[in-house]
């Protein structure tokens, strides 16, 4: 479904992603783990077309998308929950959710999805008229997730969704990730610090170290790997 070949990208003079190749199949949950600054977020931004792809190829459903504008890519069903949430601070919770469905026009199914996310995160329903900017860290994270869901994505890119969340919520979030993957057969590309939880729900995983893929394989095999246990699982 998504295929990266020797993709390079970065900011100004910094080359953050140094030619990585990876592959995601329909319906999978793939996780990308790596230390801070490894280039995980940059990878996602490159896929979404926010950071320009300097070289290499990105294929989505057998179409090259590395030179497309981000809105075109979103139209194709690739949707990201960026690191640091990026809530629209002066839009209310409700308006934030509407923005998620920006490219959709089917009113009633939007309404359905709205109820759906409200029931996933009741707190949001409670706060639907509060400005997004004044939500607490965790609330914002939930909002960000929900906003992405409102777009009914085929491929969902999640950048550290568990960051700053309470244990209960983290459990919940991962449940939800599995749920949407199962129910609406949404393919998930998950970037996590919280490696063990990520690997527990993932089918396969890639390990990124300063801009290069150093390891990849099934979730189990990765969890079994000592280096990974030391570096990312804290065992």
């Amino acid at each position: 479904m998504l295929k990266l070949e020797k993709v390079q990208s970065g900011y100004g003079n910094i080359l953050a992603v140094k030619g990585i190749s990876l592959e995601i199949n329909e319906g999978e949950i793939i996780t990308l783990i790596g230390a801070n600054g490894a280039g995980k977020s940059t990878t996602l931004m490159t896929i979404s077309g926010v950071v320009r792809c300097r070289s290499g190829k990105i294929e989505y459903n057998d179409r090259e998308i590395q030179d497309l504008d981000s809105d075109a890519i979103v139209k194709m069903g690739v949707c990201q929950v960026p690191e640091g949430r990026h809530i629209f601070p002066q839009l209310t919770v409700r308006e934030n959710l509407d923005m998620g469905a920006f490219l959709r026009s089917d009113r009633d199914s939007i309404k359905k999805d709205l109820d759906y996310v409200y029931e996933l995160f009741p707190i949001l329903a409670e706060r639907r008229h509060q400005d997004g900017g004044t939500l607490s860290g965790g609330e914002q994270q939930m909002l960000a997730m929900s906003r992405a869901l409102m777009a009914r994505p085929q491929l969902m890119l999640l950048d550290e969704p568990s960051m700053g969340l309470a244990p209960l919520i983290i459990k919940q979030i991962f449940e939800i990730i599995k749920k949407i993957n199962r129910e609406s057969n949404t393919t998930i590309f998950l970037v996590e610090q919280n490696a063990n939880q990520a690997l527990q729900i993932a089918d396969r995983g890639y390990v990124l170290e300063n801009g290069k893929i150093t390891l990849s394989g099934s979730a189990e095999s990765l969890m079994a790997n000592e280096d990974i246990q030391k570096a990312y699982l804290g065992i």
Binding site: G49, D69, H86, F88, P89, Q90, F102, R147, A151
Partner: protein, 300 residues
């Protein structure tokens, strides 16, 4: 009492005039946080285009109504094109530059456009044809509100309402607000940011053009410099009302207009601007983000 009402209406008219320009200012500011000093020049160019087209048409012997409509149309089309082009040339390359760079670019653009019109047309004041004939039913109150004044007041009100609705409810309006608040995220929900910004400039410039047409036929003359003075005042008004807010721009303009009018009427026109700016300072001291400006609740 009569005197008061007279002053009230000259204040309102003045306010409405500022508002027509202030709206464009506030929209552009709202979306890219840039004080677009060239906006006044766009208004000026709108006026010139209207002047040229109107004159040509009247020479060709078109009927009055056709002249107004066509001249207005031309003004809008060209001003919008200028706005669009200016953004592409002078601001777009500076999206990721330090905050003040686009500001200087804007000042440069303003100087450039002034002298461009000065050279291509003339330095002299040109008599602007009175496109709007006096309505007869206005005669009894003509000493208070002229026909043009009325037209300006009405237009401003309508424009404000339409804009507010546009921003609040339409897709494009929402997209504008989203882009204004977080460009990256706007991209990630599928908004074509560049297009939205262009659209904003086009709308803002079109308003300036309408302003150019109406105001020019109100004061009956134009020259290459009218944009600068009006621009500064309009910007002041926009800030006064809370920059970025559509109703704010209008409210600010009206408040400013009334202040100046009453200052002139009851104190002295020598100091009308002193009053205007002092009011600005005062209001901002007590409401740091303008009359209707959103007090930004930044979470710590």
């Amino acid at each position: 009492m009569d005197y008061f009402i007279e002053l009230l209406f000259s204040g309102l008219t003045r306010g409405a005039i500022y508002a027509l320009i202030a709206l464009g200012y506030t929209m552009v500011y709202g979306i890219i946080g840039l004080i677009n000093f060239a906006h006044g020049e766009i208004y000026m160019i709108g006026a010139f285009t209207a002047f040229i087209v109107a004159t040509v048409l009247s020479i060709l012997g078109f009927p009055a109504l056709a002249i107004i409509v066509l001249a207005g149309l031309a003004a809008v089309v060209w001003s919008a094109s200028y706005g669009y082009t200016i953004e592409k040339v002078a601001y777009k390359p500076l999206r990721h530059a330090p905050r003040l760079s686009p500001l200087i670019s804007a000042i440069g653009m303003s100087i450039f456009l002034q002298n461009y019109v000065l050279l291509a047309q003339t330095s002299d004041f040109l008599p602007f044809p009175r496109l709007i004939p006096d309505f007869h039913f206005m005669e009894p109150v003509a000493h208070i509100v002229g026909t043009t004044d009325l037209v300006i007041l009405v237009t401003t009100t309508i424009v404000m309402i339409l804009l507010t609705l546009l921003i609040k409810y339409t897709r494009i309006g929402k997209a504008m607000r989203a882009t204004a608040q977080d460009r990256t995220m706007a991209m990630l929900v599928g908004i074509n940011v560049n297009r939205i910004i262009s659209v904003t400039f086009i709308i803002g410039s079109s308003l300036a053009a309408i302003g150019g047409l109406l105001i020019a036929s109100h004061i009956g003359q134009i020259n290459f410099y009218i944009g600068f003075i009006a621009g500064i005042k309009a910007f002041t008004a926009a800030v006064l009302g809370g920059i970025g807010s559509i109703p704010g721009a209008v409210l600010g303009s009206v408040v400013l207009g009334l202040t100046e009018s009453f200052a002139t009427g009851y104190v002295s026109s020598d100091y009308e601007d002193v009053f205007a700016f002092s009011l600005l300072v005062l209001i901002l001291i007590f409401r740091p983000s303008g009359l209707l400006g959103k007090v930004d609740t930044q979470k710590v």
